[in-house]
Each structure stands twice: as structure tokens, then as C-alpha cells.
Symmetry: C2
Amino acid sequence: MVYKSLQQLEELVKNKPVRRLAVAAADDKTVLLSIKSAYEANYIHPILVGNSAKIEHIAAEIGLNLQNVEIVHAASADEASRFAVSLIRSEKADVLMKGMVPTAIILRAVVDKENGMIKGNEILSHISISEISCYHKLLALTDGAMNISPDFNQKIQILNNAVNVLRNLGYEKPKVAVLAPLETVNMKIESSVHGAVMSVMNKRKQIKNCIVDGPLALDNAISAEASKHKAIESEVAGDADILLVSDLNMGNGLYKAFNFLANAQTAAIITGGCAPIVLTSRADSEQNKHMSIVLACLMVK
Amino acid sequence: MVYKSLQQLEELVKNKPVRRLAVAAADDKTVLLSIKSAYEANYIHPILVGNSAKIEHIAAEIGLNLQNVEIVHAASADEASRFAVSLIRSEKADVLMKGMVPTAIILRAVVDKENGMIKGNEILSHISISEISCYHKLLALTDGAMNISPDFNQKIQILNNAVNVLRNLGYEKPKVAVLAPLETVNMKIESSVHGAVMSVMNKRKQIKNCIVDGPLALDNAISAEASKHKAIESEVAGDADILLVSDLNMGNGLYKAFNFLANAQTAAIITGGCAPIVLTSRADSEQNKHMSIVLACLMVK
């Protein structure tokens, strides 16, 4: 299975059960607007944690019908975050969403050893899935917003997190391009070394459920013509499903380039914990926020 | 002065003297095709260094009139590179262009201490100038192809090299965004620290002839709306002329994203030596190769 558009993902969610979405610090207009379309389409059952009076006031203002919505009062963004996470832990909610709370505060609740959403050595990572008119299918990118400078083992976990997301969507063996500034190995360029090593680990079945190739420069990964110019023989080159970046400088740069210069439509979640997390930013478009909720709903087992 | 399109740069070159372009290892069809349009427009006087019989044969094949072309025989790509560089040093050529020679070999001739094109501590860097439909003016990016992991002082030189290029085009004080994954300083993210430091060095006039701001994420740098969402007060945010990247992973990723996913038209040169260098790749489009020659011609004093 390979998808060409985010609309195809939205079609999938229509056949799924309604998912319980716990929003931490929901007392904000932008936040409530961002869940409105998914709620009205009956994809989600919102559990709004935050200042209840303020939530009700804003809901009335934006015409959000509260009939199938739960509201849980919390006195602060910190309390709201911890309560929303506890709903996930106790299986009373399926998806966590960040509302009007600083990322650092909600993540503190998520990664809390005692009461958080992480088991053992799992790491959280960001994955975005973009529809870009210049590319022939959906293109996933990881990690564009979470891990600053992952070491080799963390990169493997980030890769596996992303592969799991695509397999949950129905991909059997997603094609992973390990990005570097060039397609040949240069021992002075760590990303090129990591690409080569991961590609062999994939051949030896140390990395499973996907086809990995690297190092590949971005053009080699997504353009059959560019990879032909370099005479690259690869199942992944020109046809990547997932781009694995070297670090956050590269990941965030590409993520922003896709959205702000390549006119991408994008869904993005934080994955790797016991439930998907929607962590949109104010600068995201309404459509991107909606599609991020859709993607999170599709990750619920 | 601010330009909206590469076509405006081409208008500039029409009023300049014809520039002498030394091509190292010109005995290749793709290479000769890439200079044909600039030659026929009378922007350049080509000095083709390489296998002379092969050059003449290919010229006949592609209809390249050799009347105003010099041909210098060289037995190998290495010899051709060294001779082409010597033409620059002896002021018999204005622009160096890489032909059918590996980048490493021509660069060895360029950086040679005795017979090369570098004075003192100058460093070479790559700058691309792109026309992207989502952005309201030309957008320069540095360094997308040359410096792997520049230290702080090298980044300052790369920044100054780029500022010089834009000033040669007529910009008085180009706006430089020092890119990072976010707009706030995080001491764990070196690019964000470098952005802050460079921005203050600019205020203290340690970096001159430009307006520097950083750290900025790519969206803050090029989207007024995204920077407004973050309440960033900056002359550069949303209006950058130059993007300074953290390293080659990020630079090459963005360079390829602009060209292969954002439909950019791009001119690119290597700058920082005593003459501009055109170093296009086979995967570049004909138009991008042509515009790179145009940009190089505009850099000649």
C-alpha cells in the first residue's frame, strides 16, 4: 500500500471507531478551533482539560457544540498536562493533544518515569507526512521537531518509530532513505557513515520491516532522474517513503521548507510513546492541524 | 536594491563586458552544452581546456561555433584543472568552470598554496540564489555544497562571502538569517547560539555591510506570518535575503529541497577565491547551469 494524498488517509479514518482525544490546556480559541472539524466529522470524542469556564465560553463563541464533549477542570497548564497524560495511562483516552501549554511542560508529564507515557528505553520522535505536488506519493520526514542531535542508536529508534507509523497505515515495507549531503561514504561526514551502516544492518535484518538505503542526498532520495545521473542502483532512490535526517538542524529546515516553500500539506505527530501525541504549532495551517489529528487517530490500535 | 527574479540578474549581465570563462576539462558534451547559451548570448569568451580534438568534434556535433573560442590542449583532467587555474592567476581568464573533472581534482588545483586561487586565510564557500514562487524575492542559501562542518569563524567567513556576492549584485545591506531549528536560544543547540552571537556581533559592527538576525527557524526567516505567530521583532524575519545554515547536512538538504520540491530556479557559484567558480552538477537543469554562469560573470570586478 502506498498513498498519494492525505485525503486517502482521511478516508481511512472514516471507517475507524471514534477516538478519545485528551487535550491538555484546552482553554484557548486556536486550540478549540483546531479540533472542531475533526469533532464535527465524528472522528474524535474530545476530553477537554483546562479552565472549564473559559472552555465553555470559547466553545459558545466559536459555535462548538459541547454535547459529546467532556470537560475536566484543571487549575494550571501543568495540572492539565498531568491529568491528560493520566487519562492515556488509564486507557480513558486514546490520543494526547497539546493545547495552550508550553511544549516543555507537557513533555515533562509525558516522559515522567512514574506517571508518563514511555516504557523502558523507548524514545519519542516527530514524524511528518507531507503531500507535495512535485513528488509522486506521500513523503514522511523524521525527525523535524523533537530530537536535537540523536546518536546512532537513537537514530535507529527514530527510524523504527517512523516505520511503525507507516506500517500502521498499511505500508508493508516502507522505503527509508538515510539522508546525507551526498550519495557516497565520506568518513568525515557522520550522516554518510550512518547511512551506509544502517543500509547493511537492514540487509542483515538488524533493522526490519522496511527497505533502508543510504547515504542518499535529498535529490537522490526523491528524484529518479537525479539518482540516474549518479548511476545509483537502489530500490529506495527516487522512491523514498521516509526521509531520515541527520539532526534537528536538517530535520526542522526540511520540515519548514516543505510547508513554507514547497506548498506541502502535512500531518505530524509525536510517536514512540504508548499513545500518539498531537503537538501542533500556532503557525500550522488549520488543514495541517486537522490532518495531524486524523493521523493520530489512525495510530490508535 | 532587491531582486525578484533571476531574469533581472540576466538583464544586468547584458550591460557588462564579455567575460573570459576558463573551462577545465571541457571535452564533454554536457559541459559544452551548458556554456552554449551564455556564449551565444555573448556573455562569455570561452577558453576550453582539455582534449582539443574531442572538443572540436563535440562542438561540431552540437553546433557550437568555435570562431570566438580558444582551445588549449591538456592531456588529463588534472593538467586541464591546473592550467585553467593558472589562466585565472595570470589574469588571462575571469571565471573558472569545472568541466568533466571530479570536484576533488579541480579543487586541489584551486586551493594549491603556490599556484592556486586563495589568498591567506580566505575560505571557499558555496552560495546559491533561488527564485521560488512562494517567496517574494530572490533567496540566497549558504553553504549548500562545500563546507562540511564549519566552525564559528569559518561560518563568519561564509557569511561574509555571501554578503559580498549580494553586494556585488547591488544590495546595500543584505538581510542575513542565521538558521537554527527554533527562534530562541538553547545552549544545547549550537546553531541557536551562533545565531545569537552573530546577531550581536553585527550590532557591534564586528560583522559589517549586512543586517544579521538569529537564531531563526526557516519559517521565521521567510514567512512574515510565521514570525508574527512567534511575536518575533526583527528586520530580517519574514524578509531574509540570505540563509546561513548550520552545516552541510542542513545546507545540502535545503538546497535540494528548493530545487527538487519547491520548483526553484537557481544560480550557484563557489565564492571566496580570487575569481568566481562555476561548479555545476550533471543533475542541474540547463537553465540552472546557464544562470550559474550568469551569476559568476556578475561577480567579476
